[in-house]
């Protein structure tokens, strides 16, 4: 089950990004695109500089840059947040393949990139960070004044504004940091796990992270827990297909569909408090009268 930690890390970072953005009241369907930019940016940065750490930083920045576009569109120009996220995903799909082909001359994979060092258990530092960061994030969100402000602009922006919180700038910062985290998640895929960029990345992991956010009820620990659970299902499926010749049984699809089906079931049955932040997805207009 050594695989679980490796599989979970990208999901955990992206899901934490999703939590941050949605708790601040901005729907983030664009996680998939931000991860894609992050994965490509990390590989390109690592190849150009020769250092996987610089690559990681490039990936995080690439994700943040993509998120800045989302923030600009949805906050400054008050575009529909879902549309803006979808547009970002579409642009990421086209632009990254285009860049891959223009820079590296192949639309399939990038050349091999320097990857992050592994310890004797075969894990990168990012895998351990995926264990620690959710706890710190949870404490920050629930125990600090800054965390309270983030939650306030996600639940009731007008009330937060009357108390002197600058809603739109705070939301923008949260969205950009959300992209930073998703970018790190993407970088985990390219310079952490595979050691190169693959044109199919992140292959739906951004959407799975979104499901983890919902499944984890919009809390950092919940989302990270869901990410680990999803990764465990994934690892189990790979394990089974290796040992039981499940490839003959062809049950892979059932296993892969499981996390999504469970999330849908939890939502449909309304188990626990499955409520999004109250102002999630609602544009904030400072000049509107309510």
């Amino acid at each position: 089950m050594n695989l679980v930690l490796d599989f979970a890390a990208p999901l955990v970072f992206a899901a934490l990004g999703g939590v941050l953005s949605e708790r601040a009241g901005v729907v983030n369907i664009g996680l998939e695109g931000m991860m894609r930019f992050g994965a490509f940016g990390a590989a390109a940065g690592a190849i150009a500089s020769g250092s996987p750490w610089i690559g990681l930083a490039c990936g995080a920045l690439a994700g943040a840059a993509a998120a800045a576009l989302h923030a600009l569109l949805s906050l400054r120009f008050r575009a529909n947040q879902v549309v803006s996220g979808i547009a970002l995903n579409l642009v990421a799909l086209g632009l990254v393949t285009y860049l891959l082909q223009s820079i590296f001359g192949s639309a399939g994979v990038s050349p091999e990139a320097p990857s992050l060092p592994r310890d004797r258990f075969g894990h990168t530092a990012l895998a351990y960070a995926a264990l620690v960061v959710p706890v710190l994030f949870q404490l920050w969100l629930s125990r600090t004044p800054a965390g309270l402000r983030v939650r306030a602009v996600g639940e009731h922006p007008r009330a937060a504004a009357t108390l002197g919180v600058r809603v739109l700038p705070l939301r923008a910062v949260c969205v950009v940091c959300s992209g930073l985290l998703a970018g790190i998640g993407g970088a985990t895929l390219s310079v952490g796990i595979l050691g190169q960029f693959d044109a199919r990345m992140p292959a739906g992991q951004g959407f799975m992270a979104l499901a983890a956010v919902v499944f984890g009820r919009w809390t950092p620990l919940g989302a990270a827990g869901a990410a680990f659970f999803f990764a465990a299902a994934d690892a189990l499926q790979r394990h089974l297909s290796l040992t039981l010749h499940a490839a003959d049984l062809r049950l892979d699809g059932l296993f892969l569909a499981l996390p999504y089906a469970l999330t849908l079931l939890v939502l449909a049955l309304g188990i626990g408090r499955t409520r999004a932040p109250a102002a999630d997805g609602i544009p904030y207009d400072p000049e509107a009268r309510t």
Partner: protein, 356 residues
């Protein structure tokens, strides 16, 4: 999101101009991108145009892709009309494709119509799940349709097609072969020898006409629009809003399902082992640029269909076909934020300008 359509399109005082401006701007940006990556953009766009409209072959390809995009675009547009954002056209499309591939194998008369019907039912049922979850359980449709997409993709492409429904006797090639071929009688007839233009194109246009009629000339269409404009007001006026939302989502799914059937009955003739269409996601772009009207959706489908068809020709000058996706994404990005154009439009209009 009761006032979804209003919120999406309200800021553009002239939606058609906004969409046209967004399309032009996105082409301009990709023109610059092409130049920036060291290619001759004039040559590139020449290849793009000739790949889309230069002769019977390219025209057939454009029509083929346009017909699918009309259906997925209408699918998303119809859901927008009843106030729902259907991200799930892709999942509905592949269920429709699978239903068509399964029913298309039956040796019965009228198998083509049966396959189309089965596809509509399968896609519609998958769409209805999201509608039902929204109305009865309050599950936001954006989340549920994303989840349903991945459930469909993994169930069909990871289990049903390579597993229980795989073609027998294809041995080692099982994973790429897909399902058994459909009956010859289920194939959509080709209309123009030498091209891949088939009955799907007129069928899609006919369906677009039907959707337009339904939405703007019937009582049911009026009630759908009323529910989309404000479910509470509609309910107060005696319209069963929940049921209308479910109907809208079922129709939305059915349209996407028929799109999937056109792919199977027209070109693939089986459910292939590798089937990454992306048409469902492109349908979102088509519907958003089309602004929710069937006619504008058909025109947007033509623009993006031509782009998709023309992009294959770009490979001749060393540009990857993903260029089409880039342009399309930019168009949605620009359509998403009509406010960006307001200062410009205001300046163009001069005195008549309305303050943003």
């Amino acid at each position: 999101m009761p006032d979804l359509r209003a919120r999406l399109f309200r800021p553009a005082r002239d939606p058609a101009w906004g969409a046209a401006a967004a399309l032009l701007a996105s082409f301009a940006v990709s023109f610059v991108a092409m130049a920036a990556s060291g290619r001759d953009p004039v040559d590139g766009f020449g290849h793009l145009l000739s790949g889309a409209f230069g002769g019977p072959g390219p025209l057939g390809e454009t029509a083929l892709k346009t017909s699918i995009l009309i259906l997925t675009g209408l699918s998303v547009a119809v859901a927008l009309i009843v106030g729902l954002f259907n991200i799930g056209a892709e999942g509905q499309l592949i269920w429709g494709a699978l239903a068509a591939a399964v029913v298309g194998r039956l040796e019965v008369p009228g198998v083509m119509l049966l396959a189309l019907l089965a596809a509509a039912l399968a896609g519609g049922a998958w769409g209805l799940i999201a509608g039902w979850l929204k109305v009865r359980r309050g599950v936001h449709e954006v989340i549920s349709t994303i989840l349903l997409n991945w459930i469909a993709i993994h169930l069909i492409q990871g289990w049903l097609v390579p597993g229980p429904l795989a073609a027998t006797g294809s041995g080692a090639h099982v994973s790429v072969a897909g399902t058994e071929a459909i009956q010859r009688g289920a194939w959509l007839p080709r209309l123009w020898p030498g091209t891949r233009l088939d009955l799907g194109f007129p069928l899609a246009l006919l369906i677009a006409l039907g959707v337009w009629f339904l939405l703007s000339r019937t009582r049911r269409g009026f009630e759908w629009r009323a529910v989309g404009a404000g479910p509470d007001a509609a309910l107060a006026a005696g319209i069963p809003a929940g049921r209308r939302i479910c109907e809208g989502m079922a129709l939305s799914g059915a349209l996407a399902g028929i799109g999937g059937a056109l792919l199977i009955l027209g070109t693939e003739h089986r459910y292939p082992g590798v089937f990454r269409t992306g048409y469902g996601f492109d349908g979102i772009a088509v519907a958003l640029v089309g602004g929710g009207s069937p006619a504008a959706t058909a025109i947007a489908a033509l623009v993006f269909g031509a782009l998709r068809a023309g992009a294959t020709r770009l490979q001749l000058v060393g540009i990857h076909p993903s260029f089409a996706e880039l342009t399309q994404g930019l168009a949605v990005l620009l359509v998403a934020a009509p406010r960006m154009f307001q200062p410009l439009l205001a300046r163009l209009r001069g005195r008549d300008a309305v303050p943003p």
